[in-house]
Amino acid sequence: MAATPLLELRGIDKSFGPVQVLHDVGLSVYPGEVTALVGDNGAGKSTLVKCISGIYTIDAGTVTFDGKQVAIHSPRDASELGIEVVYQDLALCDNLDIVQNMFLGREKKSGIVLDEPTMEQMAGETLASLSVRTVKSLRQLVASLSGGQRQTVAIAKAVLWNSRVVVLDEPTAALGVAQTAQVLELVRRLADNGLGVVLISHNMNDVFAVSDRIAALYLGRMAAQVKASDVTHAQVVELITGGRSGNLGLPPEKPTDFVDITPGVQK
């Protein structure tokens, strides 16, 4: 596996008004690997993803992409670098077909006319490269697809653009057993194709099934980023719920970190 990360975040801070959501967060994404981003509700996973994808701008810290320091100010910046995010609620249009959805907002044109044959060809090739070989037609409406197929289209849409880092936000949350397996297989294949994959998930089975590395967020801090093979299921759960597990994770809170708010006591 490559030794240098494709995408590296260091010291990321993000506040919304008086509330600091991310404290000094670091994250490394390696090409050809699946990095699972785990954490409890409110740990800051979604915020971190939105910082990566350019929806939020970071307050402090550095983002290094492919060895160069970059600034991501908008979703467009992110997609120009090759960072694509597949959101939890899919972001597909039910009334459009597979090809139309995959090229939404970035249609190929010849002159002012849409170049449907080229788009259909590229969509077909992308689906084939992900070993998706079972759709009735590329011109099928997305509304008629199963949950797993929809997720597949959403992922294929993200890799269509020669993207290098794909962030998947809970791709299996709404899926059944068979479809979950299908999507996880696809996630693995993305990494095997050399992409850096960030998988956000609540499901420990999914995380251990496909990921190479696990990054655990705890209350806006990065508790630990470890190799999946080095930790157990229980340790990851401890990292998520308590921020540390044995010698892994955040240092234990020291009494000096707390402010005495007993009435009448001045610090």
């Binding site: 979703p75 959101y87 609620d89 039910d94 590229m122 084939a128």
Partner: protein, 419 residues
């Protein structure tokens, strides 16, 4: 089921389409709640048969057939614009009086101000664009629901129309190009030239697309379906032209009257233009996308606000075109031009044709088919000597049926997971 598969682009296996599988797919889509224009086409055929058998001498005359185009033109134009608005799940209640205001602007410039026809026409269409920009801005940027914005505009434009016409004057427009638009017919030669050109161009476009896809080894429609489509359109256009080029004057010695009404190519031209825009340009794709899922469109980088404004601009522009057609047909403009049932007929035409009121689903052809249904009802019931009260009631029932079909189809579609 004995379906053969074939590999398309990149090696994805898909079902190989045949004429039979195409028909099976179509039936499947209909059973799944994707009805499109089918109910409207069936309804149109049934209505024509009913009125035809009741008043075969008058309803089936060439003169009445030509008359239907002129009757439908105004409402159909307004309905075409409304389809853009409806595709986003919005509504434009002011389109009728916007048509009236634009028509009045044109009539006043032509008569009282003495401008030439092109200037007056441009001013009318320009007024439509300005109205659309205003409505779109209020809906999209200020965030007032389109129902309220356009309801307010409906009242206000009614007032504007009264005021610019000087409290209820009736202004007649002079003879000329504008008046002939929705009154006169093309010469017999030009009728045939246009009809044949339309068929040939349609056939060429269809076969070029077929060849282009075949060359890239993409899944193609079976050639039988394409031949059927081209043949069907050719039959429709050529038979219509043959009927319309018959003599239909009561006394041909005084003044001969034959040829396709100018309104027909005007309707056809806008049909082709907007169908092209909706199905072949990225703008049209984005209109459908925003209507289907605005949040997904925003994330895909589509300027949702600008799309929303633009559909109101197209809507009001087409209302202005409709206004020109209405004024041309009446030969004059009065405070009720575009009023009374015009707007509801236009919304009705779009919905009867198969455009959904819930956004994301609709085609421009729906305006033409729905407009034809409305015109046939109005025309046929008039010939059968029903009172206008009965006609309104009947049209209301038809609209209700169409909206009911849409709602039931959606429920059916939701049940089969095929929205």
């Amino acid at each position: 089921m004995s379906t053969t598969t074939l590999e398309t682009a990149g090696g994805v296996k898909v079902v190989k389409p045949t004429v039979a599988s195409h028909i099976r797919d179509y039936i499947g889509r209909i059973r799944g709640g994707d009805l499109g224009a089918l109910p409207a086409v069936l309804g149109l055929v049934i209505l024509v048969l009913i009125f035809g058998s009741a008043r075969s001498d008058t309803f089936f005359s060439a003169g009445n057939f030509a008359n239907l185009f002129n009757q439908a033109a105004g409402v159909t134009m307004i309905a075409m614009g409304l389809i853009f608005v409806l595709l986003l799940g919005e509504i434009d209640l002011s389109a009728g009086f916007a048509a009236g205001v634009c028509g009045a602007v044109m009539a006043i410039l032509l008569t009282e101000k003495g401008y030439s026809e092109p200037v007056a026409l441009a001013a009318a269409l320009g007024s439509g664009v300005v109205i659309g920009l205003l409505l779109g801005f209020l809906v999209s940027k200020v965030g007032i629901p389109s129902f309220v914005v356009t309801l307010a505009a409906f009242l206000a434009f009614q007032g504007v129309l009264l005021n610019i016409l000087g409290e209820g004057k009736n202004i007649s427009i002079p003879d000329g190009f504008i008046k002939s638009l929705n009154k006169d017919s093309l010469s017999v030669t030009w009728s045939w030239v246009l009809a044949i050109a339309a068929v040939v161009i349609f056939a060429l476009v269809q076969f070029m697309r077929y060849r282009g896809r075949a060359k890239r080894n993409l899944v193609n429609e079976p050639i039988g379906i394409i031949l059927l489509r081209v043949g069907g359109l050719a039959a429709l256009i050529l038979i219509s032209t043959a009927i319309l080029t018959q003599e239909r004057a009561i006394n041909p010695v005084i003044a001969s009257l034959k040829g396709v009404p100018i309104a027909a190519p005007v309707i056809g031209g806008f049909l082709v233009l907007w169908t092209f825009v909706l199905s072949r340009t990225s703008y049209g794709r984005h209109v459908y996308a925003v209507g289907g899922n605005a949040e997904a469109s925003r994330r895909a980088g589509i300027p949702v606000d600008r799309i929303r404004i633009s559909v109101f601009v197209i809507g009001s522009f087409m209302a202005a075109v409709g206004g020109v057609m209405l004024v041309s047909r009446a030969g004059s403009v009065d405070p009720n031009t575009g009023g009374s049932s015009t707007l509801l007929y236009a919304v009705g035409a779009a919905v009867i044709g198969g455009t959904s009121l819930f956004g994301g689903k609709g085609k421009i052809i729906h305006a033409v088919i729905g407009g034809a249904v409305i015109a046939v009802i109005d025309n046929g019931m008039f010939l059968m000597d029903f009172s206008s009260g009965t006609r309104y009631m009947f049209t209301g029932v038809i609209l209700l049926i169409a909206a009911g079909v849409d709602a039931l189809a959606r429920r059916r579609a939701a049940a089969t997971g095929n929205r």
